[in-house]
């Protein structure tokens, strides 16, 4: 680990002023960043601790929910409004990591966690464009069982590892950020980027911008929603495939649907094609399957992850069928 300075931010303005310096990093729970620093994959010269900033969870009059970026994952998952109005989010968080990690990890930090690609982690012995731009990618011809099937590029086939973000993508969550130039909101689906030629740039945050809160818009039908995670062991494993979904039916016809996939791409994958295709269709296995096949038509699996296409289809159909069954 390299030497670095550490300071607690007094407030958002103080944080942003400190965080805009070169090689500064915001520190939330540290459950990913500190690991990456130990591996020397992150070498900040300054850590700005923002875990003391707002962790409030506020129900607002317009029906939305505002979650302070410093809220711990456990606090979000246990919150009454989250459990009753956005159960897919509570389930997604509980499907991730361990109790100890969830007690530390913050919402802001979770949004920015980095891939588990083993070639990214092997900073001594493997090539990685994300770690060293232009170096090449050893995963494409290597072990790529956990890698992307959608939206990858010749530069990078890594996936985003978060469970929470998949639920946020399905919910159309908004990310509140503040920089030296002021505050703005970014749709969570626009926060993360596909790798393209620059896998080292993972988000659309501007230098020094701090995530201050996550806003969940009102979505009444999300009170019946599901997060399903498929993995290699029953706990403490990253998703091979995960599905976050909410379904709104009207007499057996899909009135509205939200669905996002995890474990398939460099970012949480909002299934917009599937959603468009399903609206107005009968809530049957057949139409679920047709819709997910349309979503995955462009999938380009790698030698070791061909199974993910079939697995994603099966899991999506099962999740939608479960939701349809619950409602009807």
């Amino acid at each position: 680990m390299n030497s670095f300075t550490y300071a607690r931010a007094a407030d958002v303005i103080d944080a942003v002023q400190q965080g805009t310096r070169v090689h500064a990093k915001y520190l939330g729970g540290g459950t990913n960043l500190v690991d990456l620093m130990r591996e020397t994959l992150e070498q900040p010269s300054a850590l700005v601790d923002v875990s003391g900033l707002s962790s409030d969870i506020t129900e607002r009059e317009d029906g939305s929910l505002l979650i302070g970026a410093a809220a711990r994952n456990t606090a979000v998952a246990e919150h009454r409004a989250v459990r009753t109005r956005y159960p897919l989010l509570a389930r997604a968080i509980l499907a991730g990591a361990s109790g100890q990690i969830r007690n530390m990890a913050t919402v802001g930090g979770n949004l920015l966690q980095r891939t588990r690609c083993t070639y990214f982690y092997d900073n001594d012995g493997s090539r990685c464009n994300k770690r060293t731009p232009g170096q090449g990618c050893d995963a494409i011809q290597g072990f790529n069982r956990i890698h992307a099937i959608l939206g990858a590029s010749p530069s990078c086939v890594a996936t985003h590892p978060s469970d929470m973000c998949v639920a946020l993508a399905a919910l159309d969550a908004l990310v509140h950020v503040t920089g030296l130039d002021g505050s703005r909101t970014i749709a969570v689906v626009d926060l993360h980027r596909l790798p393209g030629d620059h896998p080292e740039i993972e988000t659309n945050l501007r230098p020094g911008e701090l995530i201050t809160a996550v806003e969940l818009p009102a979505l009444p039908f999300a009170q019946r929603s599901v997060y399903r995670k498929v993995r290699d062991r029953a706990s403490y494993a990253f998703a091979l495939i995960s599905v976050a979904a909410a379904l709104d039916l009207d007499h057996g016809i899909v009135k509205d649907v939200r669905l996002a996939l995890g474990g398939v791409a460099h970012k949480p994958w909002r299934a917009l094609k599937l959603e468009a295709s399903l609206k107005g269709q009968p809530a049957t296995t057949q139409s679920f399957l047709a819709a997910v096949e349309e979503e995955l038509a462009d999938a380009t699996p790698l030698p070791h992850n061909k199974f993910k296409v079939e697995l994603a289809k099966r899991t999506v159909v099962a999740v939608l069928a479960e939701l349809a069954g619950d409602i009807s």
Binding site: M1, Y119, S126, G142, R233, S235, T285, F307, V317
Partner: protein, 775 residues
Amino acid sequence: MSIKETAQAVMKKAVQIAPDALMPGGAPDPLIRQKHGLIGTPVSRLDGPQKVSGTARFAAEFPMEGMLFATLKYSTIPKGKITNLDIAAAAAAPGVVLVMTHHNAPRMKPAPAFMSSAKAAGGDDLPIMQDAEIHWNGQPVAVVLAETQEQADYAKTLIGVTYETEPAVTAFEVAKADSEPGVFQGEPLLLEIGDADASLAAAPHKVDAVYRTPRHSHNPIELHAATVGWDGDHLLVHDASQCVTHTAWSLAEVFGIAEEQVHVTSLFVGGGFGSKTLWQHQTLAAAASKLAERPVRLMLSREGVYRIVGGRTLTEQRMAIGAQGDGRFDALIQTGVVAMGRHNNMPEPFILPARSAYQAGSFRLDVEAAKMDMVANTFMRAPGESVGTFALESAVDELADNLGMDPIELRIRNEPEKDPTTGAPFSSRHIVEAYRAGAEKFGWAARKAKPGTHREGEWLIGMGCATATYPYYRMPGGAARITLTADGRANVKIAAHEMGMGTSTTQTMVTADRLGLAMECVSVDYGDSHFPGVVLAGGSQQTASIGASVAAAYRKLITELLKLAGKDSPLHGLDADEVIGRDGHLCKSDELERRESYVSLMARIGREELTAEASAPPPLEFTHWSMHSHGAMFCEVRVNAITGETRVSRFLGSFDCGRILNPKTAASQFRGGIIMGLGLALMEETQFDERNGRVMNPSLAEYHVPVHIDVPEIDVIWTDIPDPHAPMGAHGVGEIGITGVGAAVANAVYNAMGRRVRDLPITLDKTLPELGLVP
């Protein structure tokens, strides 16, 4: 020379000197008959309070005056030469005292490789930081010593290494083309009886398939570590070790000093499983300490264990059985190839179970080794048996399915009366009883013979069983010292090991029973190379080795005590074989009221203490008998019909391992083995990148072992039938628990969904294709 040959060589001589209890015609260990003592009662481990309170001191926790912290830099190529090492920045970094490379390391000899001589402990026999040559991806190329661990770890990142790469063999298919016959413990891994190919061809029923098991990495909870210091030319090593005497001797060879000049201690070990032998880190720590003239602590990182400590190698096994319509085996063929390092000799001996598991008309068993440029592969819990039983016991299940027979019935039909390949009588074999008891307790009768017919919601449910088997070993070299004190207490010293198995507790019980003392009057000291004996904690042989050593020392002690006690003792005229210990007294064994207390005897002879040291008799018992532990494993799995995820919902192990000395610690050993077996079945796999021989998942986040929720309730039962030819009637129980588990799970998966997975681990990408179209 093999263990058997060594044993046979000394046998002739030994028989002439004294008939032994473990030999034909000898009397069984009197402790077997004893029913009132501590043996067989559940005793909590004596070191438990120290471990849970953090006061037990492990290898990396010994303080030494002026100690430095070490870290290792590893190679990133599999083969070639270091052309440049840029250490200037690292050497100038804060706190750094020394950077050691092949340029400045002291001259040392290679460590003698394991099994190359009696006390050899090295994982391989390569030069250790003596030249620019790279032999595997992950080889240490530099040691950094600093005042703190953090300073050393940081300085390491500043070292620049350039290499000239040379062609390496890192792909198994390439290595296979040049495979050689495997030799294990001095014996070729080849056995042919009859014409197995012809018998297979002629058999009316057969299975013939290829089974694969992947590489596994060692993950004991305690990382490999050594704290070392020199006092002149004497070396003290606090090691995490399962072979202190071997390590002391081997380090002496490396540094060219006498064995007595090296003192290795290892009181507490956080798991060994075959990995806590001599790897490069102890030698590098000692070398760097010598150079820096200060004590050094070197604890490997988790990544470091994956890079420089070998694991279980991959196997590719052809398994074929030819059978008659009634199920009797005409042919048993198990042949295949394993990957092996170039500088070690451990061809994973997967054929060992098939040598004694079943009667068959003909056999062909063969292991070939394909040499690769990789870290030396090594022993891991039940080497051979754990992966060999996967192929063997899966094939038996396949055959039962073909024949329409119950797989337990098929096994019983092929139960041998004597060892099917050596002809030796079995010393103790009650596997049929183990199967019957296990089937009853598990509810095997409820299994549906037709696969894929039991479903609850999304879950397909299946049951499977498999045979577990592991040999009884007792290696030569066991010795112990007993001291009896005037207050009627006894102390045993033996260079044995407690790696969490409960050895120290169980041997305290056994010694107390042998002497007839209360448990609190007995102490057993171990984990020190200055104590008597060469006692490897491996091959599940420690229980027998310690037991036989203590029995020998006891006999000598009592002989001396009776001699010194003289005519006035009520025991006068009796020899050591005519007395037994009971309630703090020595008693005539068939006339218990004729007795004298140890306190009285010691007062009579006027000594504060009396000490005897003796060697265990040569391990001749397994030259006369075929000696094995056995078990029947039962598993229930649930395979998700949507996702293919396999979860184990119930497990039962029914064991036949001689007399169980301490049911509490034995049950933990059985369960621990089974849990490790569940990992082998469902998730463990070292990702060895065949392009450059690099391990890509050197972390417990990415290398999956079972977590709590993956482990169901595990029931364990045992026959508790003593083996009359083993000390205490007992067999070691450390390894058998992992054997058979892979096949029991695979057979249950087949029963659940009708899909036969012959390639471990059984991950969902292997079950998914058979689940049919999207439901």
